[in-house]
């Protein structure tokens, strides 16, 4: 099976084959013999790849893999060949989140909304204040843009992943 992996600004093709002695992973035409084991029967994995021992927990969010290593958590875009073919065949747009949708990364209560629909904002500008874990957190614009829609009002409780604000690219304004 082939996988398309987006990470660190590049897309790589990774092929996984059954080898004589476990799996073989091919990246950039180099073969890596890999032994994969699940540690607790759950999503904690240990790989022995090229002799090195690597342990991580993996979960999937919106098609991305979120990998927790000992010292870092990384988000990697990943598609298998079949899904990618199907997406391209049906004229699907580019994979990846629209950079101009701001969602709540945590549950909390909206304390204050600082922008109005139609207003133009710049990268890093505070959009609203979300109170969570006894702290007030400023939610900032991830890019320059125009406020297309504000989904929340002060006092409103929001769940993780709830849409807060939609931004349009500034050209469209």
């Amino acid at each position: 099976m082939k996988y398309y992996v987006e990470w660190a600004g590049a897309t790589r093709v990774v092929e996984i084959r059954s080898g004589a002695d476990g799996l073989v992973v091919v990246v950039d035409d180099v073969e890596h013999p890999v032994d994969v084991a699940t540690v607790d029967g759950g999503e904690l994995l240990n790989l022995i790849v090229d002799g090195e021992s690597v342990t991580y927990a993996a979960r999937f969010e919106n098609g991305d893999a979120v990998l927790s290593f000992h010292d870092r958590e990384v988000r990697v875009g990943i598609e298998d060949e079949r899904t990618r073919m199907a997406r391209l065949a049906t004229g699907g747009g580019p994979k990846g989140k629209a950079k101009t949708d701001v969602k709540s990364v945590m549950p909390g209560v909206v304390k204050e909304v600082r922008v109005a629909e139609g207003e133009s904002v710049s990268n890093g500008q505070p959009l609203l204040i979300l109170e969570a874990m006894k702290m007030e957190n400023e939610i900032r614009a991830p890019a320059d843009g125009l406020v297309e829609k504000v989904h929340v009002a002060p006092g409103q409780a929001v769940d993780k992943g709830a849409p807060l604000v939609n931004l349009k690219p500034p050209e469209a304004g």
């Binding site: 759950g42 927990a57 990998l67 000992h70 010292d71 990384v74 109170e131 969570a132 874990m133 957190n137």
Partner: protein, 502 residues
């Protein structure tokens, strides 16, 4: 005077890691414990660790852990003769102390008067100033709505300045103001946060010392007039005024400076008739001058590093002091040994502005081996919510010297697994690698300038790891093979699975 008044049953008026810490100390002293809990904490470790447990209300602190009436009722109903408040919540609430005393229940902490003198930072500044301890320029705000008066006070203090909650701690209700234009909003917002967190909106202004180190002195006083200091804790690794890494000794404190600061701390404690464990916080300027910041009239989050270096159990001593036992260290001080560091592992995403992380912990793994201490309340299957502090685990290490302690902490952090939750472990590891931290030459701005995590396109590990995790997932979701010729319908098969799950 030295007659012992043993405590038989202790109510722990807190939650989280400090409640667990206190229960441990009580059980080791042969004291029976009663936990209190909110509805959100039914399965928490402190509830399971105590002998008895009483639910005191809903998840919001104001409905449970801050309810003096219900906690007092629980203490009386369970026959407790003492209450330990931990830190936060009611730890520095003089009315709580008086309410307990009125019922003949001991409060494990200083007298109400000492809490009043030191708990309100404005009064505290006045008190220690009078005893000759250097203080940072500051100003009280009689009426925060009076814009003219607030602006004038700020000019008197001088910019940059901090707006701080009188009742506060832990960075909550605190704002840095460099530009006078931001002053009024900062005062308003700090007051609002302070009201939420501590039930008191009073704030004050304080000159912001540039490039300061945050150094604090641990003191312990008994009711017989003995007060002793146990060196300093270096707490300069902070994000948004919340401590992340603490160490002792401080790389910046010489034996002479330590003696001076210990003396100042003892004076501050004596100036208010202090009894119990407390901490005097100082700012140490780049010029070597130090200024009194505040006195925390409670046990602190970072107390374990002092315990490891000085070989003293401060929580056990809080209990003994409350039992009337005199402290023995005055004439024969404990000999400090080695170097201790604490890292606070929190549920937050440092790469996304320290946004809190919530969810359910999978199978956790905590570090072990020599020189490692874990003070936490985490367990496998725990729900991490937004109701409380996001501190999951204090990882504390002790080793013969600072380089070895750093190496040990790094090794231990690699052993921690808290799956399902994003933590600040990557941030802590990057801090340990930072040349300023390694050299010991850092101040409270260290995290502001810390380089972010970098993805290395040459590193194939995440690429291979993601592909294999996806592959496993794909394999797992493939339908189970049906035995050839099997007449068992899918429905029956599913039914069996359902049965087995019971």
């Amino acid at each position: 005077m030295t007659e012992r008044r043993p405590i038989k049953k202790l109510l722990v008026a807190n939650r989280g890691e400090i409640a667990v810490r206190i229960i441990r100390a009580a059980h080791e002293a042969g004291i029976r414990t009663v936990a209190i809990y909110s509805e959100a904490d039914r399965t928490s470790m402190h509830v399971r660790g105590a002998y008895e447990a009483v639910c005191v209300g809903g998840p919001a602190p104001g409905d449970s852990y801050l309810r003096v009436d219900r906690i007092l009722e629980a203490a009386k109903a369970t026959g407790c003769d003492a209450v330990h408040p931990g830190y936060g919540f009611l730890a520095e609430n003089a009315e709580f102390v008086e309410a307990l005393e009125a019922e003949g229940i001991r409060f494990i902490g200083p007298p109400a008067d000492a809490i009043r003198a030191m708990g309100d930072k404005v009064t505290a500044r006045r008190t220690v100033d009078a005893s000759g301890v250097p203080v940072v320029p500051g100003a009280e705000l009689a009426d925060p709505e009076n814009e003219t008066a607030v602006k004038a006070a700020a000019v008197g203090v001088g910019y940059p300045l901090l707006v701080k909650a009188s009742a506060g701690g832990g960075g909550k209700g605190m704002r840095l103001v460099r530009d006078p234009a931001d002053l009024l909003e900062a005062v308003q917002r700090a007051g609002s946060e302070a009201l939420t967190a501590f039930g008191d909106a009073t704030v004050y202004l304080e000159r912001f010392v540039e490039e300061p180190r945050h150094i604090e002195i641990q003191v312990l006083a008994d009711e017989h007039g003995n007060t002793v200091a146990f060196g300093e804790r270096e707490c300069s690794v902070q994000r948004r005024h919340q401590k992340v890494i603490e160490e002792t000794p401080s790389p910046a404190v010489t034996p002479e400076l330590r003696a001076e600061m210990e003396q100042a701390a003892v004076s501050a404690a004596k100036s208010c008739g202090y009894v119990g464990a407390g901490t005097v916080e100082f700012l140490l300027g780049a010029d070597g001058g130090f200024y009194f910041l505040e006195m925390n009239t409670r046990i602190q989050v970072e107390h374990p590093i002092t315990e490891l270096r000085y070989g003293v159990d401060l929580v056990a001593w809080q209990i003994k002091v409350a039992e009337g036992i005199p402290i023995p260290f005055v004439d024969a001080p404990t000999v400090p040994e080695g170097h201790a560091i604490e890292a606070r592992i929190c549920a937050e995403d440092a790469d996304q502005g320290f946004l809190p992380s919530t969810g359910t912990l999978g199978a956790i793994q905590l570090p072990g081996g020599p020189g490692i201490r874990c003070d936490g309340h985490v367990f496998s299957g725990q729900e991490i919510t937004l109701y409380y502090d996001n501190l999951l685990l204090k990882l504390i290490v002790h080793a013969e010297d600072r380089p070895r302690a750093i190496a040990r902490l790094r090794r231990a952090l690699f052993e921690v697994r808290l799956p399902g939750i994003t933590t600040n472990i990557p941030l802590i590891l990057r801090t340990l690698d930072d040349p300023r931290f390694v050299s010991g030459n850092y101040d409270t701005s260290i995290l502001d300038d810390l380089p972010g995590a970098k993805d290395d396109p040459e590193d194939l590990v995440p690429v291979i790891a993601a592909a294999l995790a996806k592959h496993r997932r794909v394999r797992k979701t493939a339908p189970p093979p049906t035995p050839a010729g099997s007449q068992v319908s899918a429905w029956v098969r599913a039914g069996r699975d359902w049965w087995r799950r019971g």
